[in-house]
Symmetry: C2
Subunit: 223 residues, 2 copies
DNA sequence: GTTTGATTCAAACGTTCGTTTTATCCTCCT
DNA sequence: AGGAGGATAAAACGAACGTTTGAATCAAAC
């Protein structure tokens, strides 16, 4: 049927099936048969199942990082010498995940977002690999955010960035949940809508005055 | 060693191991040997592995729902006849997850939070069971939030509640991540600190003016 | 003291998994 | 045309899994 395109077909099938059934819930036999490939093809092209998983992520993460940095630089250049608007920084971070098109195969990228939302809470060794690929970009955004919100202590900024990532991951990984709970009024597939809602929510959260260092009355956690 | 306490030991061991290694990553043999029980004990007490998983969740969810509702009612009563402060509503929702003590066995509950953060993105049939147990409480909070923020359209309120849940789940499930990225400056085990940071962030996000219905300039998603 | 029913135990069953092996096919190079 | 090497194919391997079985054990009831 095809030459070396087997690699790509395996990656596409794996991405989709991993998103739908999880890593452990998807066997190599399921993947290879969905990709019209032989069972041994995975071990031939990716050495192991874990190698396949890592390849599924690597294929998407690099373009994602690139687009995030490109958009961030655009925002910085447009606002120079002042720091860019908070909303523009957030959009540079969020928008590339909500339109993962533009890569060679733009169609099935939506499945990747589900995977991305799941990897943060996955126990395996994949997490370390994926996170190390995100680290430089995250660091870059932290710097710029810090310039845009100079009054915010660094730990608080980090917490808020994590809340943003959590919201994004949840919107991706549990998209069907909100569609169900809203009886269809909220559409997680409407990337533009999600972007707007999340940008509004998170921008206000980032701009909140920093948390008071001491609780107002005794301990709320162990009263 | 003990009579019917085998059930409890199995639940404790399963909770911890599931949190550390995932559902598929934890075998019944690992669980039963950690609980000093026989391999067949799981099938005897819980019928199947999936029954064990469901029991692990059910044991914690009911007290969690109860405490959330109790605190919400307290906040409503204290503020009546006005709707309670947004911060108080959020704390009633967040605080019980950050101090899951008070149940019979208060020590290992922290592991349950990791599980809770993961269940939203899990592919299995467990998700449906867990979500159905959360649904009434979530509906109740939605009502009260809607009264406290009457100007907010219902779908936008739902989105923001989901962002809150995502932030909470991420804080629990990926707690070690923020400790790493902050080089120790952020402590995910400091429940009180997380509560304050998240309440501040989310309250500001909920109070943000509702998202403009139409994007300001053309489509940002597919330019 | 014996019986009864609930719990624990050791052992095995059948299935599925990731991986490896060996042979065959196809494509390009000289 | 013919050989070399990368890619695919079929089959088998050992290991690990969830579950089941049937006997052994225990505590309480009569």
């Amino acid at each position: 049927m095809s030459k070396e395109q087997t690699r790509a077909r395996l990656l596409d099938a794996a991405e989709r099936l991993f998103a739908e059934n999880g890593f452990d819930g998807t066997s190599l036999r399921t993947i290879t048969s969905a990709a019209d490939a032989n069972l041994a093809a995975v071990n031939y092209h990716f050495q192991s199942k874990e190698g396949l998983i890592a390849a599924v992520f690597s294929r998407r993460i690099e373009p994602l990082n690139q687009e995030r940095i490109t958009r961030l630089d655009q925002a910085i250049r447009a606002a120079a010498p002042a720091p860019p608007d908070l909303e523009d920084i957030l959009r540079a971070f969020l928008l590339p995940t909500l339109r993962l098109r533009g890569t060679a195969d733009g169609l099935e990228a939506g499945h990747f977002l589900q995977l991305l939302g799941r990897v943060f809470s996955d126990p395996g060794s994949i997490k370390a690999v994926v996170l190390s690929q995100f680290r430089p970009t995250a660091q870059r955004f932290l710097e710029v955010l810090s310039q845009a919100l100079p009054q915010l202590p660094r730990p608080e900024l980090l917490w808020r960035l994590h809340f943003l990532i959590g919201s994004l991951a949840h919107a991706h990984a549990a998209g069907e949940l909100i569609r169900l709970m809203s009886a269809g009024a909220c559409d997680p597939d409407d990337g533009e809508g999600v972007l707007q809602h999340l940008t509004t929510f998170a921008a206000a959260g980032f701009r909140a005055p920093h948390t008071r260092p001491a609780p107002q009355k005794a301990s709320m956690v162990n009263p």
